[in-house]
């Protein structure tokens, strides 16, 4: 069909039938492509929309993982559980899914009658996605609620902390709140370390967490707790506390303070007077501090075991005169000063050392700062920065300064283990792990002298530890009593006292140190007294008598063992003559 432009006026273009069909097909394809693209666009847009919406998976502001997070079990040094997690069902509601609130309230109250009706109605009404109804229920209640078949009501399994030892190790373990966070004791310390981080990351689930091994021996802990509770009634004391430590590793074997609380009911932890007296209580230590004075003076070489001190008259400071409690009023040798707990003699010993050297020794023994320890409940000791003459004199026998029983324990451990200060711990630690932490504070020879003095105080005639030794015969215990008068209305009162007994055993090869405190004891019977030997001392004796076999220490009555404690400076003379 050849046509030229000039021939054509009004062109009539005629397309062939095939071409028309082809155009039509192309138009249809275009429409189809458009429709398909629209369709895919819709699907894509919906996908984006779905991706943008955030589903609220939190439980009242907390991630679900945190609620169901577990804590590692806590074991004692022999593998006995001290704290475990139990799974308990907790009842929650999704108010936006509840169809008939009235019916739900009525039915729920048939199983949980202690829930207030108006509170429950309030709780279940509304548009929230999640509300707690009641947490930590028993499996039988769960069963009953499930049988009610209320829509929008369900259970979630929570981990709850359970302490099978009940009150026995309360101050060591502390407690956790309903969200499984540690609020006191080692539980709080663990959270500070890394458990909280693991829980936040959602890793602390299931049974994957390795158990935490403590240094505590639950058998010893039980005996100590039982004896302290016994002491509370026996001596009508207002409080009692005790702590025992492995002197070579610094591991705390037992730590108890009564009155205490039940960690299974965290609210009881907040009751007044149930604080941990071992770490969070500071007291004037009284005569158990004389061991510190003796150690400092002997270590400096200022005095020796053979020196004699004039204890005939009191020491005068201006208007004050310091006298002895049971004065001997004669010249005493150094071991006698310790045995008869002579304040006057101890002041002379301190003066031979010099008050500034004495103050420096207290710093060396860690009496200026908190004891490095895991429990968060700690209090700073109050020791004057500088001593006046009279201040140093009273400090030499443990008055005018306040330290925690844990301070005394750490010092006693260093005095008997050969002279190394080892920071106490609640976690398991071997001797090899402990050795790098050792800090030498006194010479090994001074440590030997202190061991002799402590044993002398237990078996020597008139020694204040004889009550204790009578109960713990054969276990070679030695120690020092301390009866600190309390300040009542600005004066030292002689009938309100805090009693201490610092001890170590078995002394020929010491392994354990212990400090026992009995607060405001009364005489057990008219024949006994209120000084420390009668209460803190006998408690120590009873504890050692029961726990020494558990700790692998067999009784031995051989006098040769005691004789081996006599330092070289005193040797010579008949057997036993150094323990009179």
């Amino acid at each position: 069909m050849a046509m030229t432009a000039d021939q054509v006026g009004a062109t009539i273009a005629l397309d062939g039938a095939r071409k028309v069909r082809g155009n039509l097909t192309q138009a249809r394809i275009r429409w189809m492509v458009l429709a398909i693209m629209l369709g895919f666009g819709l699907v894509g847009a919906r996908l984006v929309q779905l991706g943008m919406t955030e589903t609220d998976s939190t439980i009242e502001g907390q991630a679900r993982d945190v609620i169901t997070a577990t804590r590692p079990p806590i074991l004692d040094r022999n593998g006995l559980e001290m704290a475990v997690d139990i799974r308990v069902p907790s009842l929650y509601a999704e108010p936006r899914r509840i169809i008939d609130v009235e019916e739900a309230v009525r039915k729920l109250r048939t199983v949980l009658p202690n829930l207030s009706e108006s509170w429950l109605r309030d709780r279940l009404t509304g548009d929230q996605g999640f509300v707690w109804v009641q947490r930590e229920l028993s499996p039988s209640v769960e069963e009953k609620v499930m049988r009610l078949g209320i829509p929008g009501i369900d259970f979630i399994t929570e981990s709850k902390r359970f302490y099978p030892g009940m009150t026995e190790a309360s101050h060591i373990l502390g407690s956790t709140n309903i969200d499984n966070r540690g609020i006191a004791g080692i539980e709080k310390h663990m959270d500070g370390e890394d458990i909280a981080l693991l829980q936040d990351l959602g890793l602390a689930r299931g049974n994957a967490l390795a158990p935490v091994e403590l240094s505590v021996d639950m058998r010893v802990q039980h005996v100590m707790h039982e004896q302290l509770v016994d002491a509370m009634t026996r001596y009508q004391a207002i409080a009692a506390a005790g702590v025992m430590m492995d002197i070579h590793t610094g591991e705390i074997i037992a730590l108890a303070s009564v009155p205490d609380f039940n960690p299974n009911e965290p609210a009881t932890a907040l009751v007044k007077d149930s604080f941990n007296r071992i770490t969070a209580g500071i007291f004037e230590p009284g005569s158990i501090f004389k061991t510190v004075t003796m150690a400092g003076a002997l270590d400096s070489g200022a005095v020796s075991l053979t020196d004699k001190f004039d204890a005939r008259f009191g020491v005068r400071f201006g208007r004050f005169t310091i006298e002895d409690f049971h004065g001997k009023h004669r010249i005493l040798s150094l071991p006698e000063v310790y045995k008869y707990s002579s304040n006057v003699g101890t002041i002379h010993v301190m003066q031979a050392l010099g008050k500034d050297n004495f103050r420096a020794f207290l710093t060396r023994m860690g009496f200026d700062a908190r004891v490095p320890f895991e429990l968060p409940e700690m209090r700073l000791p109050t020791v004057p920065k500088e001593f006046s003459e009279v201040g140093a004199a009273t400090a030499s026998f443990g008055h005018g300064l306040s330290v925690s029983p844990l301070h005394m324990l750490a010092a006693y451990a260093a005095f008997v283990n050969g002279g190394n200060y080892v920071p106490p711990t609640l976690y398991k630690r071997s001797v090899a792990e402990a050795e790098p932490l050792y800090r030498r504070v006194i010479q090994p020879s001074t440590s030997e002298a202190i061991r002799y003095l402590m044993r002398l105080n237990a078996i020597g005639q008139g020694g204040s530890g004889s009550q204790m030794n009578k109960l713990a015969l054969g276990f070679r215990v030695g120690g020092k009593t301390g009866t600190a008068e309390k300040v009542v209305d600005g004066r030292y009162s002689s009938n309100k006292v805090t009693n201490f007994f610092g001890s170590a055993f078995p002394l020929e090869n010491p392994r354990y140190a212990m400090v026992i405190m009995v607060d405001e004891p009364k005489a057990e019977n008219p024949q006994s007294g209120t000084t420390a030997g009668w209460n803190a001392g006998t408690v120590t004796g009873r504890i050692v008598q029961r726990v020494a076999p558990m700790l692998g220490i067999a009784p031995d009555f051989s006098p040769l063992l005691d004789e081996s404690l006599v330092p070289a400076a005193l040797q010579g003379g008949p057997v036993g003559s150094h323990f009179n």
């Binding site: 559980e81 139990i86 008598q545």
Partner: protein, 127 residues
Amino acid sequence: MIRNLNIVLIFSAVVMLAGVYALKFSIENTASQRTALIAMIDEQEGQISLLKADEAVLNQPGHIEPIVRRHQAALAIEPVRQEQFGSFADLPMRPAKPNSAAMNSLFESLEAGVDPIDAILSLEGIE
């Protein structure tokens, strides 16, 4: 040719469709089994945790001691005293063993009516 191919394709499509559906249902079935198992494991873990806690309570020295005290009279037991401890070093040496072979032969000869003392006496010249 193409028609045959189409028929084959249609048939295979139908078969695959049926297969996919069967797979879907079996997977749904497996998933629900899995959910049930998870729920069961969860429940049993909960029970185990309770049992473990029970066991821990029963193992506590503080739980055992009152029981021991309750049965102290019936079982005639009391806390060990220091004097009751001993060691292997405290035991006396074991006495020398009797010569059982010689004893046996002696008794056998006596049984047979032969008293060895006669032989000894005659050897010594004593009647």
